[in-house]
């Protein structure tokens, strides 16, 4: 018996972990209990010395002084304040007006606003709830298919998980020992790619089944010229002018591209405000309103991502500045009060606490698990998979996809990633690539029926009973839970396709880093050689 335990203590410990977690007691303490139990067994059999347990306070202190994780409460706090700052509502209204007259327009608006909100914050709930409250009733009113409407809202909300700044990527960077800034840069193209795929899907559906997403009728478009024109020409002119100006400032190296965008954005904003208040009639109402509502999110994106990518701020400070910016925005919009502030601080403190205690628990677990060479057991299992790098990535992603049905990403990231990271490094996989890949994959954990958070958030704001529409006065059926579940399935499939694309084209992630933007260039390829020739990256040149 004891010989069996000694020989198989790693696998036994892992099996026990699964059992303990499934019982349903808080993960943080189940993890540490498992660690302590097997620590005691290992000490009993002389596999480990008692000094291992003595090291615990030191480990806890190490977790505390970890600057990277400090970004978690900041981005959470920022998301919570933004959720109520009125920004999302303004955006959805105006962008909905902008895209409304085309077929599938509201769906495009949801994807677009989802991506924009995702680039300002790392919290899913904010965008799903706003879109569920604002866009969903309009979509149902004008005859959108319910599954399509539910799916596009839930999926667009989860973009916050992969488009930087996101909490997933912070945890991933920490667990894989890479810089958050690199992780953010690496995730940019896959994140925007996903948003583009969502929009493409909307386009395809609007062509194949136009009845599922009709254009808004004319009376629903309220932002118009007094002459009745929509005012697109003016908007187009503004966009073309702005892009040209920013491009030339950057191309002639007058400014760094990020500064160029900030400058052009600022000028456009001032022009729009001047036009509005001085009544200059330079711009159409639509163009003016679009410029004005786009400014708060773009300013926040600059404050957070811009400063990180420019190397002015660390991700932690970027998060703090974003939080300060969100507070200012909420204050300006007269949404900031003591109740909101307290709620946001309360939720942030509790989230930080449970995240950090999961980390403490997983530290106790992995301290013992490594002590009894469990990590070598995992490695031997995974490294011998057929297909080398690609085989490993496919198996790992399939595993993460399945686990994402049961676990949320904090659990996945703290339990699974530390076990997989070293194996990936040994196989020569770039850890930024690996982290982004898992990030895209774990995004599905928010969409998987029946436990995905995004679905749950949407459910909580969608009509559960038959209701009378405010505008048309018609009786409308509720949105059923089944419709929400079916609606996200196409998007889960898009997600899987994206995982495949990122596996096939690692340059989507690493290509951005290789250009070198001055942020910790020495940490980019630390111990990971470039992918071998078995999977040649495509050459676009």
């Amino acid at each position: 018996m004891s010989a069996f335990i000694i020989a198989n203590i790693g696998p036994l410990m892992f099996a026990m972990l699964i059992i303990l977690l499934m019982i349903g007691y808080p993960v943080a303490f189940s993890l540490s209990a498992n660690g302590l139990l097997f620590g005691a067994i290992a000490i009993h059999y002389g596999l480990l010395g008692p000094e291992l347990i003595q090291a615990l306070p030191q480990r806890v202190f190490g977790i505390m002084s970890n600057d990277t994780l400090l970004a978690i409460p900041f981005f959470t706090f920022m998301g919570l304040i933004l959720e109520r700052s009125g920004m999302a509502e303004d955006l959805l209204d105006t962008i909905g007006q902008m895209f409304g007259p085309i077929r599938g327009g509201l769906a495009y608006a949801v994807v677009f606003v989802g991506a924009l909100l995702a680039a300002t914050t790392g919290v899913v709930a904010a965008s799903v709830i706003s879109m569920g409250l604002i866009s969903l009733p309009i979509m149902l009113r004008y005859g959108y298919d319910r599954r399509v409407a539910a799916g596009v809202i839930a999926a667009s909300g989860t973009l916050a998980q992969i488009i930087p700044p996101s909490l997933v990527l912070i945890v991933m960077a920490d667990q894989l020992g890479r810089s958050v800034g690199d992780m953010y840069q690496g995730a940019f193209i896959p994140g925007l790619g996903l948003a583009a795929f969502y929009a493409l899907w909307v386009f395809v559906v609007s062509i194949v089944r136009p009845r599922l997403m009709p254009a808004l009728p004319l009376e629903a478009i309220t932002v118009r010229e007094s002459s009745g024109k929509a005012g697109y020409a003016s908007l187009l002119a503004v966009v073309v002018l702005a892009v040209a100006a920013a491009y030339s400032l950057a191309a002639y190296e007058i400014f760094h591209p990020i500064w160029a965008c900030a400058l052009v954005g600022g000028v456009a904003y001032i022009a729009a405000l001047a036009d509005k208040y001085l009544n200059l009639q330079l711009l159409s109402r639509l163009a003016r309103q679009v410029v004005i509502v786009m400014m708060p999110p773009l300013a926040l994106i600059f404050l957070v991502l811009g400063t990180i990518f420019l190397g002015i701020a660390t991700p932690t400070e970027g998060g703090a500045m974003g939080s300060a910016g969100a507070l200012i925005l909420a204050f300006v919009n007269r949404r900031l009060d003591l109740k909101l502030l307290k709620q946001a601080m309360d939720t942030t403190a509790k989230l930080s606490s449970f995240v950090m205690f999961i980390l403490v628990g997983s530290t106790v677990f992995s301290l013992v698990f490594r002590g009894v060479n469990g990590d070598l057991w995992v490695e031997s299992l995974l490294i011998s998979l057929p297909g080398g790098q690609i085989g490993f990535l496919i198996v790992v992603n399939a595993l993460a996809f399945v686990l994402a049905f049961f676990l949320d990403f904090f659990e996945l990231a703290f339990i699974i990633v530390p076990l997989l990271g070293p194996v990936a490094a040994k196989l020569g996989i770039d850890l930024i690539w690996f982290g982004v890949l898992l990030g895209v994959n774990m995004q599905t954990s928010f969409m998987h029926p029946p436990f995905g958070y995004a679905l749950f958030y949407l459910r909580s704001v969608a009509p559960k009973e038959e209701y009378t529409d405010r505008v048309t006065g018609k009786r409308l059926a509720p949105l059923t839970t089944g419709q929400i579940y079916w609606g996200v399935i196409p998007f889960v499939i898009i997600q899987v396709i994206m995982v495949g694309i990122v596996i096939a084209f690692p340059t989507m992630v690493t290509g951005v880093l290789d250009k070198g933007t001055g942020i910790n260039p020495n940490t980019i390829h630390f111990e990971a050689p470039p992918p071998p020739d078995s999977s040649p990256p495509p050459d676009f040149r």
């Binding site: 932690t316 509790k350 606490s353």
Partner: protein, 193 residues
């Protein structure tokens, strides 16, 4: 049992107060950290003391908030089976989990971390970086935080036992764990305000 329940209410009150005081440090951390970034960029000046204050604050609120988080039942669970169990079975899980999962680690870390603090206090240990802060206040947070957690663990155990003995109604706060506690209901209320 009534005595124990009184003790449990006392603990709940304590952690409620501590948690709701500690969360102000979230705002403090936001201000300190954004201030650091601005000052460094504008004045090209940075101070290790202020940089360390960032994580001192963070550490303080996540450790001091641990008991409060438990009180609010916000430590995440894998509730795929748990959510389908009867309230009594759940109470048993929480009772036994508290005794055998939570208390051992909380007490162990508390006991091991106390001497680390006293040593740091006696030596007036400061951080190794120039102008760094004194270390003992943040090292004190480890035993204090885990002590608050252990106390709340005891309180939860008492409440579950009392529930199983039919002395009190189900003590579990009703809510689904999530990363975000601002419920949609609050949002709608906010709209109407």
């Amino acid at each position: 049992m009534q005595l124990l329940l009184t003790f449990s209410r006392l603990i709940d009150w304590l952690n409620e107060r501590v948690g709701q005081t500690a969360y102000w440090m979230v705002l403090a951390a936001v201000l300190v950290s954004s201030g650091n970034a601005v000052v460094r960029y504008v004045f090209d000046y940075s101070s290790n003391a202020w940089l360390e204050l960032q994580w001192y604050l963070y550490t303080s609120f996540f450790l001091l908030g641990a008991g409060y988080t438990l009180l609010r039942n916000e430590h995440v669970r894998i509730d795929i089976f748990y959510s389908r169990l009867s309230p009594r079975t759940r109470a048993w899980i929480d009772l036994l989990g508290g005794l055998f999962f939570l208390l051992p680690i909380a007490i162990l870390v508390m006991a091991l971390a106390w001497p680390v603090f006293t040593e740091s206090f006696a030596l007036h240990e400061t951080s190794p970086s120039a102008n760094g802060l004194l270390r003992w206040p943040v090292k004190l947070m480890i035993p204090v935080g885990f002590c608050l957690l252990a106390l709340q663990g005891v309180s939860e155990i008492i409440k579950r036992a009392a529930f199983l003995m039919n002395l009190i109604p189900d003590p579990t706060p009703h809510h689904v764990h999530g990363e975000d506690e601002l419920t949609p209901h609050d949002l709608v209320e906010g709209e109407e305000r």
